[in-house]
């Protein structure tokens, strides 16, 4: 799966979790850009990502993420493993 495809799937998850179809994700998008993206909802996103992509993460990996680009890279690495 290409990074662009991962980003597209991620967008769907963000639309569902934040109930906002207007969210446009770029690799630079971070919690500063989405008002409801806090630590609790971050876990909601990660859990949805795990289910959608069939991967598993550890807390340390996902708390270190700075933006959507980092998350895409992490998913991509996990899918390739």
């Amino acid at each position: 799966m290409t990074k662009a495809e991962i980003l597209e799937k991620l967008s769907e998850i963000f639309h569902e979790v934040f109930d906002d179809d207007g969210i446009v994700l770029t690799p630079e998008t971070s919690a500063d850009h989405i008002s409801e993206w806090d630590s609790f909802n971050h876990i909601h996103i990660i859990v949805a990502v795990e289910a959608r992509f069939g991967v598993k993460f550890q807390v340390a990996e996902v708390t270190a993420l700075k933006n959507v680009g980092d998350l895409v890279t992490l998913i991509s690495a996990r899918l390739a493993a």
């Binding site: 109930d19 500063d32 409801e36 806090d38 630590s39 609790f40 909601h44 859990v47």
Partner: protein
């Protein structure tokens, strides 16, 4: 389109406890809720869901047939919050409802059609044969996998028709009872206390004769304290996701504190620890007492907690007493009843800090913080002077958040900054008191622990060097 608006009251909570059987203290008991990950009493998420279904069923937007629901709970609803339901979209897949409080999303609710006909679902379930008795509850989170059992219904289905008449007519009162039982499942059975509903995804089956909601844990995710459960009731089945946050952290016991503190290093102190029943105040009281000082621990609401801390100190031969002190009352009157010769006063009075909001700034929150971090501290200083206590050293805990902070702490940091300014001027202009300020980092307490069990430094390591400088 606006579908409904309401505030949930204590009576509503009590009534839903009766209907669902979910008496989880995070919904009922303000003291217990203080120790929970949300910090205050929260509304049953399933209650919000049933109310939304009832609102939809009596509106002109009712799609005619609903055989499935999918709900996410990204944020809690606190008691007294004004909850607003709006219809977000409607199409062939169903209807999406947004529940929010002051612009903050608290639930996304989709009512739609099941993926398969009810008869097929019933045949494919596999939860029929479960005994309506919970299997033994495991100690370790990962061992929850495979746990199964049943949640007996708390009341006859007809009772739901009284409270949610339109929903009961539209989907059957027995299904509302099933949905309510999911609340009891998560809150009381599995994973039980402290649990937080994350998602509920259900599809209607044919009407069965079951007397309980059967469940089985299908997956655990220990890193995030997340459980997935399958469930089946008398007219539906589906999946539940729930977080089971770790127990609120206990502050270190006297054994550990004794080992860290030098014998007699605080022996000259007679200290008043305002808000010493828990958190940083609790650790401060223990440190002073372990170093030979004498402490009076005050509480506003947590008398039992204060007594527990004092007993723990006394059991190790330390000197501790407790007293009620309310920062909203007259400081001079309350102080007059206490020990006359305090040498030190430590001020840890606080409200619940981490309450989520979508707005960068809310005046009401700043005002609430200022009552604790500015006005309450000033009143205490005034009271000390009025009751003739001169030469007292005061400690004011500020926060590193005044320099750099996580999202959602704007008002908190602003109030602490205002508190710092007050402290500077009290020190300059108020004769007879000296005020010491330290910017403390985020330390582990029941104010800071999270659903995911993130690691945060302990209070002892942070406070001991600070107290030694007093």
């Amino acid at each position: 389109m606006l579908l409904g608006q309401r505030r949930f009251s204590t009576e509503d909570q009590e009534h839903f406890r009766h209907l669902s059987g979910d008496a989880n203290p995070i919904h009922m008991d303000p003291q217990a809720a203080r120790r929970s990950v949300f910090g205050e009493v929260v509304v049953h998420g399933v209650h919000t869901t049933l109310w939304a279904l009832d609102c939809l069923a009596q509106s002109e937007l009712w799609p005619g047939e609903v055989t499935a629901l999918d709900v996410r709970f990204p944020n809690p609803v606190y008691l007294g919050d004004l909850v607003t339901l709006t219809v977000k979209s409607q199409d062939a897949d169903g209807i999406r409802i947004r529940a929010e409080v002051g612009g903050k999303l608290v639930a996304t609710i989709r009512f739609g059609r099941a993926s398969r006909p009810a008869e097929e679902l019933s045949a494919a379930d596999g939860l029929d044969d479960l005994a309506a008795v919970d299997s033994a509850k495991p100690h370790d989170f990962v061992d929850f996998e495979g746990m199964s059992g049943g949640v007996p219904f708390a009341v006859p289905a007809e009772e739901f028709a009284k409270d949610f008449p339109c929903a009961a007519k539209a989907v059957g009162a027995f299904r509302l009872r099933d949905i309510a039982a999911a609340s009891c499942l998560v809150g009381m059975h599995c994973p039980g206390l402290r649990s937080v509903f994350a998602r509920l995804s259900l599809e209607w089956t044919g009407q069965g004769q079951g007397s309980c909601l059967s469940y089985r844990v299908t997956a655990t995710h220990a890193d995030f304290n997340l459980l997935r459960l399958s469930c089946q009731g008398s007219g539906l089945m589906g999946e539940i996701e729930a977080f089971s946050p770790p127990q609120a952290p206990r502050q270190p016991g006297m054994e550990i504190i004794f080992a860290a503190v030098s014998s007699g290093e605080f022996a000259s102190q007679t200290a008043l620890v305002v808000g010493g029943s828990r958190g940083l105040g609790e650790v401060t009281a223990k440190i002073i007492a372990a170093g030979g000082g004498s402490v009076v621990i005050t509480y506003a609401r947590g008398q039992e907690d204060a007594a527990r801390v004092a007993q723990e100190i006394q059991a190790f031969g330390g000197k501790a007493d407790i007293a009620h002190y309310d920062i909203f009352g007259s400081s001079a009157e309350q102080l007059a009843a206490l020990e006359p010769s305090f040498t030190h006063v430590y001020y840890f009075a606080t409200c619940h800090i981490s309450r989520k909001t979508t707005q960068v700034f809310e005046m009401a929150r700043l005002e609430e913080f200022q009552k604790f971090y500015v006005a309450g501290f000033y009143e205490l200083c005034q009271g000390l002077i009025e009751t003739g206590r001169k030469g007292v050293k005061l400690f004011y805990p500020s926060s590193v958040f005044v320099e750099d902070r996580a999202k959602g702490f704007t008002e908190y940091a602003a109030a602490k900054m205002a508190g710092e300014i007050l402290c500077t001027d009290l020190d300059r202009f108020l004769n007879g008191l000296s005020v010491h300020v330290a910017r403390l980092p985020r330390v582990m307490s029941d104010q800071t622990y999270t659903v995911s069990g993130e690691e945060i430094p302990g209070a002892l390591d942070i406070l001991l060097p600070v107290l030694r400088r007093m």
